[in-house]
Symmetry: D2
């Protein structure tokens, strides 16, 4: 079984990859996580988008994820990482409130808390983002699949997600009032 | 000085106006309040919309407000009251999360809490709503004015609002991260 | 199977029971719901309290619930209903923020939305409340049982709850970061 | 005028001070901010605690602040930094929900966003924390002063705070429903 190590890291323009490797074991790194959703005219979530990824020899489903860079606002990091994972015509509606619906703390030690990333201690600010446009899988993903809130909350989907991200997905559904 | 009594009550299809008058002194009535905003591409609030109203002999600025009717969802009440106050082409983006950013408790006793409505005990679920379309004042409003977040938070605007609604407006700005 | 009709209504000092019966079919009534929890020293939820109730011929588990009365603040309604359901020495820590973590809309029409109350349209502001003291079942409850977050989220517990309250309980666990 | 550079950094057991200096200009650092409050029996904020600090030649008021260390949970960082700034008998009630009420983004470039820290790009998860015990100023603070919510929101207090922290304080008051 794979883990959150597969959360892709974009090339840092500020730290060399070697320096970043070093820092990953010294400091918590700031990430964003995003749950893309389709909403109906009344604002209610009708579908949830998950990235389909091929990591090593396993297929997994994942949330949008990426680092917040030096001197980058959380909003800009959210926009940049949504574009990286969903393409340039997804037309995300960036949340009006800059406060995340949850904070996911990924620890390198498995079983320490709800979230795991073998590579690093990452703390992700998590947002639900409605997307109106067309989503295209990036080089990091094979596809984007859209599920009903019920399917997204299911144990079947939980088994396909790694690093504890399904727990974050369920919290997102709860936040949107569509977790039963 | 006028008070929240001017918060317009739509005709109830379920209770006669006389029955409603009676109930207003017996039960807290459920309302919604909405703060219409314009947002930029990054989701940040650039302008806040306030209704300009002529009540009795005074001009005041007000938030969108209205009752939740029997068997109506909060979302539907939000949509209906936004349409009532902003017109049919305002194109509001109804929030994904059904949880209000604040709850405003209007009491008929002046000075009892932050919010006042001489007519009734009203409890309003308050939402910030981005509007993309064109807003037209309804019969209840003379005009809709758009202010920067700084103007909206100012003491000048506070003096033009009644029933404590400026406190709710400031909380909305805080929620959006644009209160300095 | 029973439904949310069993959510107990305290005697209204303001409306006669007959008037209240009438109003229940004309207006949404404002309620509070509370999820009592035990927390550890780090503030993390360790246990969730559920009321054990005997309604008609079935045993069910329920959240703390009750009406907001005329001229009563939501905070005071929360305190009063916690005392009604948990006794006078529960020592609840009333939340600092007056904003509910969720709003539960109970409709009299079964299947219309997530929550059902055959008696009325009730809109409940929902809070998670840490209790430090000793909880004693009131006349409305046979007992109070304390469950781990995992047990509380389980399908077994869901089957013992009525009116959709288990959905609200799961949302409470998500809000507290303990829903897996 | 001083700036957020005065936000004290605890000795890192993981990175040398020299390495940390380097990293400060390469990565956003994760911080916590806390607003200590006294609450009444109904959970309403009655007083707000501010640290009185002597930085260089100026006296300023500040919020509780500190880094999240490698492999430390946000909860533990909150507890540790509260103890560092308020002493060991403050008896803080750590929030049940691990989601901050706001995220403060401090940039080294003055005027870029609401928050400034000349030393680094710091992203602080902000919490309101009720304290029941006795607060003692640490070596970093001359004193702790308790203000009413009205005083805390005032322009006078704003002038005594640096790095934009007064904006965060106002958001905290809004979150608690005590910003007028």
């Amino acid at each position: 079984m794979t883990d959150m190590a597969e959360m892709p890291s974009e090339p840092s323009g500020w730290l060399s990859e070697r320096e970043l490797q070093h820092v990953r074991r010294e400091l918590p790194l700031l990430y964003i996580n995003a749950v893309p959703v389709r909403v109906d005219a009344a604002g209610e979530v009708s579908e949830v988008g998950l990235l389909l990824r091929a990591d090593d020899d396993a297929i997994s489903r994942a949330l949008v994820a990426g680092r917040v860079l030096f001197h980058e606002t959380v909003r800009d990091a959210l926009i940049r990482n949504l574009e990286k994972d969903l393409g340039s015509v997804a037309m995300p509606r960036i949340p009006i409130s800059p406060t995340p619906f949850a904070v996911a703390e990924y620890f390198p030690t498995e079983g320490y808390g709800a979230f795991h990333d073998s590579r690093q201690h990452a703390v992700a600010l998590a947002f639900v983002v409605a997307v109106d446009g067309s989503c295209e899988p990036s080089q990091n993903a094979l596809d984007i699949v859209w599920l009903s809130p019920e399917e997204a909350a299911s144990d079947d989907v939980a088994r396909d997600m790694t690093g504890g991200q399904h727990s974050l997905l369920r919290r997102a559904l709860a936040h949107c009032g569509v977790l039963r």
